[in-house]
């Protein structure tokens, strides 16, 4: 009897670096430091204008920040060098995107925010040469923004891809797409949209330009988070005609591509949000050192120290899970079973850890913590959706458990 077959990732499958070292860690750490400095100097001042004073996050603001990021040499952590990016693997991104995440506007400023990050990954993996030139190059360079239209109003698809209602009908010259989507992140002002629609061969991805007359951006949904440019929108495809070359990847394989997109996309979210949580943790630490109650600094109260320690532990555990999933993606591929599993684990833990850290940071600020004068209040509200999008914790736990249980069935 072997008691030791494992449903967890077997130790003997540990990824082995091949050929040249895929990450130059000192260089990545240096880049992360530069990114931190850029965020502190150029992004955080603007963030306060946005959050406290209500300045709109429009393309003018985005382009200004991205110009400064280019000048600082920190633009494009997700982009290939051929498109003006930094050409980093996931392990290097982990360092750099955590640094960028310190501000709500940080990922946007370096062109490392959703949904462009996943779309860059998707186009790189599944795009034709022409599609890369037309869509990937300007997106990677920050010249355009994109959106992804997947989720549908009930009874359409949410977590369950089999419930897809939007359809694409093939014609002589291409396809006609019809259906309603909502929570289409970034749609307002996006240059193009990747939409998933059902075909007889299965779900298929299409590239739709924003000025396609069959495509309409409806209402920006009043979600708790406000900081994503383009918002989360209701969009409609009404007899939306696209050419045959608008298919992204193979017909009928839309969910496969969506799956490939998922592991890196989940991980990028983890990196960005963790950066925000680290900043809130530090804001709380500074606050309680500087305020006193009952005769001593709040920082000397044991229950405050417990909050600080718990957040520190959550941060380091999050970093460990991100680092591990990044290494697996780098060495075994984003479409490997180990990559999906480790990214699901990271997403579940980090999204909940970030929530706890932000919640503790609010609590440590006392009454000020629930006042939007202090950014932690806003951070908490912005972060709530992270436990739901790109896979709610419950769906991810189900998926993690199935993978663990499979070898024992």
């Amino acid at each position: 009897m072997s008691t030791l077959e494992s449903g967890t990732i077997p130790r003997s499958e540990l990824p082995e670096p091949e050929g040249a070292p895929s990450i130059d860690r000192p260089a990545a750490a240096h880049l992360a430091s530069k990114t931190s400095a850029f965020i502190a100097e150029h992004v955080i001042p603007v963030e306060r204008e946005v959050i406290v004073d209500g300045r709109i996050v429009d393309d003018a603001l985005r382009l200004d920040l991205q110009r400064k990021a280019k000048a600082a040499g920190v633009f494009g952590p997700l982009s290939e060098t051929r498109y003006g990016g930094l050409g980093l693997d996931m392990r290097a991104q982990a360092l750099v995107l955590e640094a960028a995440g310190a501000s709500l506007l940080g990922p946007l400023s370096v062109n490392g925010s959703a949904p462009d990050d996943g779309n860059i990954h998707l186009l790189r993996d599944a795009g034709t040469t022409e599609q890369k030139e037309r869509y990937l190059a300007p997106l990677s360079a920050g010249d355009t923004r994109s959106a992804i239209a997947m989720t549908e109003p009930a009874p359409g698809t949410g977590s369950d891809p089999s419930m897809l209602q939007t359809t694409a009908r093939q014609t002589d010259s291409g396809w006609v797409i019809t259906g309603d989507k909502h929570f289409t992140t970034g749609a307002d002002g996006a240059d193009f949209i990747i939409v998933v629609a059902a075909t007889p061969a299965g779900p298929t991805m299409f590239l739709v330009d924003h000025d396609n007359p069959g495509f309409q951006v409806g209402r920006r949904m009043p979600t708790l988070d406000h900081s994503i440019p383009g918002g989360h929108c209701e969009v409609t495809f009404t007899d939306c005609e696209v050419a045959a070359d608008a298919v992204l990847g193979e017909v009928g394989k839309g969910m496969l591509y969506a799956g490939v997109r998922l592991a890196p996309s989940r991980l990028v979210f983890c990196m960005n949000w963790l950066g925000l949580a680290v900043r809130a943790h530090e804001m709380a630490a500074r606050h309680i050192v500087g305020r006193s109650s009952f005769g001593v600094p709040i920082a000397d109260h044991g229950m405050a120290q417990a909050h600080v320690a718990d957040s520190e532990i959550d941060i380091e555990a999050s970093r460990g899970l991100i680092r591990w999933a990044a290494e697996i993606i780098d060495t075994q591929g984003a479409d490997s079973s180990n990559a999906r599993h480790s990214a699901s684990i990271a997403k579940t833990f980090v999204s909940e850890a970030v929530w706890r850290i932000l919640d503790r940071s609010v609590q440590l600020h006392g009454g000020l913590g629930v006042c939007e004068d202090h950014l932690v209040a806003r951070f908490l509200v912005e972060a709530r959706a992270f436990r739901i999008y790109e896979g709610p914790s419950e769906v991810l736990r189900w998926s993690i458990a199935r993978r663990v249980l499979r070898p024992f069935r």
Copy 2:
């Protein structure tokens, strides 16, 4: 050796009802049912206008709702019958205010919301006959609104009353109050303010009319909660002259009165917020019964059921703690040590349970849960401050522990 001396409330100290039964429970349950019907018919429709469409909660709205509450016979759960109220003890309030709490505007509609609830209690306990006539009667009847000015900007008082910075200097004709307060709940539009200021004899409470030239309402602070009329304001007392009869209670005993106000005030918050949590719990239950994923209603997924059960347990445990503290206040007095202890326990548990219930209700709604189209998103954000005001959980835990440990010292 007795292993059994107890730091917890000894069983032998169980409150014994005296004289006539202080609660007529069937009557209270009937009143709660009427309140529920009133909330459903008159308040919930308006709540949506406020939350989703941004209608302002002004006095016109408040007075309209309170007029309807009077017509429905559910106005004044905290008010004495002599002032047009329902004359309920705390145990009856527990049933009625949970019912009223089902809407964010419910407590206001029946005149059972902060800070008026605590001020009614305070005036009843500490007011002179003249003060009762001038301030308590119209406040109880819904003709006026009030505020309480306690918390100060750093380095002033927050959780620690010894840090009070606002002062009152005695003159020949009365007092002159000077100082800054913030988080003054309800100040914008309040008819009068109860302010705590330091005097040589100790902290003292004063009644200040809204039109006193030495009193200024500043900015409404941008807190996460939006539903309290009058908001949370910055206020200033600049050489604010009041007459000698503006002192509420005895000079130098302000913190004592604040303490007496605390147990009932904390408990009223618990009742109101629990009502909102119960509603969110039911909204989530209805949602997951009506939506399917992976081939079955979400309500059939075990992890969703776990959320539902956990919320149900949190609700019943909250009710049990509220009921117990209410009984102790009714039978042993709001200023008894047992009352303070049991109200601290209830506030700590219920504020955290409400947060968990609302958070689970958001999660069970999936993506819709973070969209303010669905009220649960707004409920969650509104509730965050409840774990901080009227005693942050950490300060309450400290207080609970000291009481438990005292007999063993």
Copy 3:
């Protein structure tokens, strides 16, 4: 639209006391005090002999303790007065059995421990006059001990009653029972056993005398808990012949009776274990007041205070849930839907709260906490099974959720 139909126990269904007050609370509180004194004087000294020195809990010890309980006037909280018991309703039992639970041997000493408590309830509800005289009377008086044989080795029944494998075949003169049971609590030395077996008409309960030649007590299973007299045993029924009058209740209604037994039985467990948790909480409080580290008593460290406060909150929340379920059983009947629901809620919360409290008490003892010299170590280990027997938390949560969701289906 009514947003307010409730899956939770509707407020309007609040139990109303009928006729004479069913509980005399001061009398019950007085009895609880006497029970506490009895436990401290007579039981706790022996408990140490059992736990630390390994004295066996045999009938001699049990009878000696019960004799003393009778002398102290605290014997029989579950028994009717006609059988020498105290004739208490569930609300009074809540006070008395918590007091008795302060020692692992306390419930046994007053004849209020499993499985006799549930069997007393069952015989009272379902027994014939003859069965009551023969089995209930001596069991209530402490002259006998009993067992209940329900759970079976795989693939037999555990949480799922439909998996019952033990059968009873009807003969001319009675029944022949065949099958294996395990975890048969109290079997070693029991005077009679209640066994559930499948018949063509459905599961049926039978009373089997210990000296029936078809009944064999096998191994005492090496469970983590050691303090229950008679242990948890493997038992076998081999062509076990019983007369027709051995049927308890109606043929085919065994699960119905088991269900009726459940709510009170779960609640009695809650009362007893809560009593132990309260004692551990007080032991921890005394310990940390008396020990210092880093220059102050451990009791002055904030993290220790947080543990103390959390345990205090858990205790009061547990009491509230027990009190509520007891009131519902007393006023609506043990077989009411509300009784089952509220007892499931109480069992789930209290079993987990007890575990947390004991775990914190161990932690507050530091290294001594994991040494059986100190009883908290043993208490923790003894308590682990409480989250599993009489319904594992997961099965209870499933049941609670179904009840909440039903009105929305």
Copy 4:
């Protein structure tokens, strides 16, 4: 203003491998696989004899298992190659000791268990050439066992080193040690003991041979864990004379050495216990796949899946924290501030994660989970002390928080 100074480990301080790669990961993974095979074949069968049948863990058993480990090429993960060990750095140990930890007897079998692991580390760092030859060589080779005597009965030292009561008085020829210790792990049968005693120059470490007439091993304390050879003992030093060369390291620097010992020792515990948790996780997975209730395998119930996923997440987060702390120790040294911080974080999280995983594994086994026939019951009990020894979670959290807060003071 820099919002970004960090109390957490700065990214720019990321350890950089120097010179030759300090770990050959494929080789370590291969060694871990061999260790797993050895544990399954030789150790797990004996473990059952020990746990279920009560076989004593004596030197005969230990030596037999270690002989087999040598034959299998898996002996000595903590030992230098010059002493017959495997010469691994901490990162390699992380893989190998997790594999060894799969059995309670695994770490002992490969000579990687407490307290020998820490003593090996200590002797290597602080021993003289003679001490290494006399104590380190045979200890590394498995020819001897050792103990460490630090903790004292009240009012002596526990978590707070300043409370040390045992003294060492200098004489012409050496030292005379006097004092009582308890929880002296491994003392019964140890060949030598490292004892910490107070001298005028400060706490000092001494090497004492087991047959020193001034040294007495008293009672084995009845702790919850049974699997450590030599137990946890009360020991007494009565005018215990040792020569001058019995001082380990410098006089007065005993706590410094104890501190250096801590980070690796805590990490080794994490590795070993995590291995046991992984095994329990797999046992639970196998169990719920093979058992059914309510018509489907338990593994198909959502609440069981949530337990499985939570344990999987806990395991991967633990691995990430261990891996990170190991890398820091390897590259920055065990006595670096980063090493202490990251090891404190790992110990706090992993000890609590292991407890949760074992607890869930018990729960997933249902009634069988609390029966020592099934090893998970025993595993849970054995593991409780891990949250206390080598730094209770509360003391570690205090230490973690101080480190985080320091830059903000």
